[in-house]
Structure formats: C-alpha cells, structure tokens
Subunit: 350 residues, 2 copies
C-alpha cells in the first residue's frame, strides 16, 4: 500500500468460509477498493486463491493487501472444535490483524459461532459487559433517519439466550450507539420487548432493566414495546434476550415465505388471481428491494473492544460490498468510543 | 329445566363483563339452546338485563336457566382488587356453579386476569401442575385433523411468563390432550419452541423439558421447532413460556395489520394496484374467513381440575356461540380426564 493510503481506515476481510467463498468476497473487496473514499482492505485467505480471484476484477492495488491463511473453518464445522484445532484459519488470522491494531474492523461471512468465538479469543470485552450480543436488522413499516431506513435493529439475535437485567441494559446502550453511528439516526428510539406497556409487565429481568433504562442518560428509551410493535417499527432498536430475538427473526422470515407460497399457489389456481398478482408485481418487487437483507450487508457483534461486522453466510458480491461499507462507517464514526461512553453513562445510574 | 334435559352437559356462561355484554352473550346462548344436541346453559349476570335480552331472541326455555349475579368486573378493572372486592361478580358466581358440580364447564368473555383469578380461587390445580397456562390459537399454512383446521394451539399465551422445564412439560401434555379432544386430531404434533432443532439448543429450561418430553408416552413430541415453523404450522401444539408466547401472538396480529395497511395505501396511490387488489379480493376474503378468530370462539385455561373456556373480550354473538360449542365439546369428551391421564404418564418418566 502506498503512502497515499496512510491514515485510512483498514478493514480485515475474512475471504473464506462463506457459502460462495472468494468469488463473492474478493469481488466485493475489489469493487469497494475502486471507490476514491474506500478503506484499505486486508483480504485474508488462501493467497493463491485470493490472488487468482482478484485478477478477474478491476481493483485498486494500493488499497488491497492479501494476507495468507492456510486453513478454513467451514459453515458446518463445530465452532468450538474448529477454532481450537485450526489456529491458521482465515477468521482467526483476520481477527488477529484487528487485535494487533493493523486493522480497525473485522468482516466475515463465515460460520457465525466461529466468528463469535474468534472475537472472544482475540478481543477483550468492554468494561461492564458480561455478555455480548449479535445485532440483526429486519424491515418494518416505518422509515427512519437520514437514509429513510426501513430497518430496525434487534438484539440479541441469539448469542445470549438468557439475558439478565444488566445484559438487557447493555444491549440497549450498545444498540443505540451503533444505530446512531450507522443509520444516521441522531436519536434512535430504544424499546424493551415485553408483554405489556406498563413498567411492571414482563419477566423479572425485563422489569428490572426497565427501571434502569429509564434513568440512563443519552438514550431515547421509549419503554416497553409489544409484539405488534415489531412489524410496525415503533422502536429503532429492539432489546430482548437471544432466545426471543432469534424466534422473532426466524418468524419474520417464515411469514414472508408463507405469504409468497400462498400467493404463488393462488396464482396457479386462478387466472383472475394471476392477473391481480401481475398488476401488483411492481409494488411487490419494490417491497422486496426495500427490505432486501443484502442491501444491509452485515450486522454487528457488540460488546468487544474491537469492531466486528458479520455478513450473511450466503453473501453475494453485493452483500459483501455493503458489509464492507457498514464496517468502514462503523470504524470511521468511532462506534466503539460511542459504545464505551454509553456503557459508562449506564454504569453511573445502575 | 325439564327432565328431558337431565344428563346433558351444563355450561356456566358469564354473561357480563365483555365488550359487547349481554346483547352478544345472551344472543349466543339463545342461538345455541335451539340446537337439539345443545348443552344446558346457566346464564349468569344481572337477571333483569339477561331476561330482557333473552326475550329478544327465540330460545329453548328448557335449556336455559338465568342465575342472578349483582356485580360485574369490567375489562379495565384491576383483576386482583376486583376479585377481592366484588364477591357477587358474575364471573365468580359462574365459577362457583362449576366448582359445586352444578355445571361442567365455565365460559367467559370478561377480563382475562379476573377469569384466571376466579378459576384459581374456585378450582384446584391438577396434581403435579405448578403453574397454569392459557392456550391460544393462530392460523397457519397447514391444515390438520378431521376438521381441516388451519389453527395451531400455542401455550402459554401469557399466564406463566417464565416457565420452568416442569411447566413446559405440563403445557405440552395438557395442550396435546386438549387438542385431541377439541380438534378431532387423533395425534396432535407437539413442538417445543426453541432456537435450533438439536436437543442441546435453547435455554436451560427448554433443554431439560426436551429431555423429558421425548420419553413421555402418549404424546407425539416432534422435538424442537423454530420461529419459521410458527406460520408454517409444523406443530399442532406449540409449547413455550408465556413471555415468548405472548410476543409471538401479538406479532402475528401486528403483521396482519401491517400487511393490510400496506395494501390499502398501495391501492390508494395507484389505479393499477387498486385493480390488482380488487382481482385478489375473493382470495383475501376467503383467507380472512378461514383465519377468523371468531370461528374458534374460545381458548382454554389449563391446569385446573375444572374446565374454563375464555372467549375473546370483543366476542360477538357468533364468537359466543362458537365458544359455547367448544366448551360443550371439551366437557363432553372429558378433556379433564385426558389431561389428568397425560400428566400421570409424564410424572412417571420425569
């Protein structure tokens, strides 16, 4: 990399381990490198494979560095065993670049468990964070922030199945800081998922978390939200345990599949319905585009002193490109600094 | 009531306290009484009001008895306080008829908390039941049983927010027995809601409950199900804590509202979309009919030694009629006996 690129944000991209692998990850990196404002990109993986892929795509040589890693953790490897037995795996090598300060943020589309364990091994947890969270985004009825963003952030999406009151407070603060940095939403509304609007409604952990959150400065805590608020998008940041978060997210996925199947089967049974669906096709297409997860690219693993953006396992070139942009923005806006400050503010009232 | 009606099932109907009140509840009872196979109906409430309503509708005098209750618990009363301060409330008088053995099953469309507390005060919990559950039904993609029923039963819907492994096992057994009796589904598939299919996935309570459920005789335990299985209808009985169950149910409600609003707004913006929606109208109408909660009428409160069917607070005559039918069927098929047997079988392997 030339002197012209000094001072730029550096991203460590785990090029291996995703469903589509280097043909998608390297192509995404090549595309990003051509943008004048792009970060520096450390592409970590089998050097021969990465180099060959890179040659297929126009890219900016000054901004891309290939870092060799001789091993790969596959999507269906058992995370614990794989991380222990493959010290040369691309995800671990990439995480180490971030740990060492050579890179500012980690991006991977690999095995979620292995990515999380690599972070846990290489990074430190932020002060007062007992358990980390995976953020996830889902489309809602409401738009928000400068980007007219239809997505709400929900956390935890499955790392911390049973969250204590302290965990929930941490998720709220981290989610708010992340959303502020990424969604250009100056005052994200933070809602605590429960079974009623009153402060007294919910599990013991939820009730206790509510009591703390309403006193935390610097976040826009709108109180408890309920199940119907999820599709409405009442909150920009939805706070819940990993168990409930995972079920909510998979339900949303399942419902959209069910609706599509019902529509297809109606269209096959009747010409009238087929015609109706054809007339509605542009609206359906537009809805699909607006709510496409590939537009979002990646979601954060929060709670560590280093940044990690997890891209979807099925990431295409476009999804990787967007994940790299999210990572760049998260590093550029000092998301970790904002999270640290938020956690300190929360600790002061707890 | 004449001698001709002896031996029939008797239902105690709380006629007061629902949103529409006696005009709906009494009309529903009158309609049911005219069916030759109908149960006897004890209509509990302000005798003057009930009598006046009853006169408006053709009914079978031999099958209806008015039981006076001088007080009413309103939908927005605080349950605990109301049950303590209004001993003459229709729900308590109706529950007492069931406790005393004069009636076989209780039906109410009133304040859910007050109905539950009235059951807790008047009835005993079945052996081994620590905490009771409210069942709820929701429409799915799949049809089941003799009735081609699109509904799955989910429990708990909100009575027991934090369920232990023992609670979850109890819910599974009670839900299976109820579903067998009511849905004419000889072998309801029981699924434990979790974050992955493997037995090791989930909270401590879920993992422990899985270990017991796979050994319980007499239920068709299909293992863990995930969020996407909810709309698909993979399980006929979905077992989860009241916290998650409540969120799932309200989310389903919210999503259908969001979809309707999006469709309406698309139709208002474009003639093409309006035409498309018109062509699809019969399919949408049919879907709405098939999935209408009023068709179902009522859901069970399970875990007591007496039966209680809770009808929706907004119940119309039609919903009350269907709730009375469900109650009749539940009593007629000895649902309590089946639940008792199921709980004994579960206790033998726990």
């Amino acid at each position: 990399m030339s002197s012209a690129t000094r001072g730029r944000i550096a991203v460590a991209l785990d090029a291996m381990g995703s469903d589509l692998g280097p043909p998608a990850t390297v192509a995404g990196a090549a595309e990003v490198s051509r943008h004048p404002e792009s970060p520096r990109l450390f592409v970590v993986g089998d050097a021969d494979v990465v180099r060959k892929e890179l040659e297929k795509h126009p890219h900016d040589r000054d901004k891309i560095r290939i870092v060799h890693a001789g091993e790969v953790i596959a999507q269906d490897d058992k995370p614990k065993e794989a991380v222990a037995q493959k010290p040369g795996a691309s995800i671990l090598v990439a995480a180490e670049l971030v740990k060492a300060g050579e890179c500012d943020v980690l991006v991977s589309a690999g095995n979620t468990g292995a990515v999380t364990l690599s972070c846990a091994r290489m990074f430190a947890r932020l002060p007062s964070v007992q358990r980390t969270a995976l953020g996830a985004v889902y489309p809602t009825e409401r738009r928000r922030g400068e980007k007219d963003d239809p997505f709400s952030l929900i956390l935890d999406a499955g790392l911390t199945l049973e969250a204590s009151a302290e965990d929930l407070v941490g998720f709220a603060v981290m989610g708010s800081a992340y959303s502020k940095c990424i969604s250009r939403n100056a005052r994200p509304r933070v809602g605590l998922l429960s079974v009623g609007g009153e402060e007294s409604k919910g599990t013991e952990a939820v009730v206790k978390a509510h009591g703390v959150l309403k006193r935390v400065p610097g976040i826009d805590f709108i109180g408890n939200i309920e199940g119907m608020d999820i599709p409405r998008g009442t909150a920009d940041v939805v706070v819940t345990s990993g168990f409930t978060g995972n079920i909510v997210l998979k339900m949303l996925e399942g419902i959209s599949e069910t609706v599509m199947r019902l529509a297809r089967s109606a269209g096959e049974k009747s010409l009238q319905y087929k015609a109706g669906l054809l007339l509605l096709a542009p609206a359906i297409q537009r809805l699909r585009q607006v709510t496409d997860w590939q537009e979002y690219g990646g979601v954060p693993i929060l709670g560590f002193d280093r940044l990690c953006i997890k891209a979807h396992g099925r990431s295409t070139q476009r999804a990787i490109r967007n994940a790299l942009r999210v990572a760049h923005r998260a590093a550029h806006t000092d998301t970790i600094g904002s999270i640290r400050a938020g956690l300190e503010a929360a600790a002061s009232v707890a």
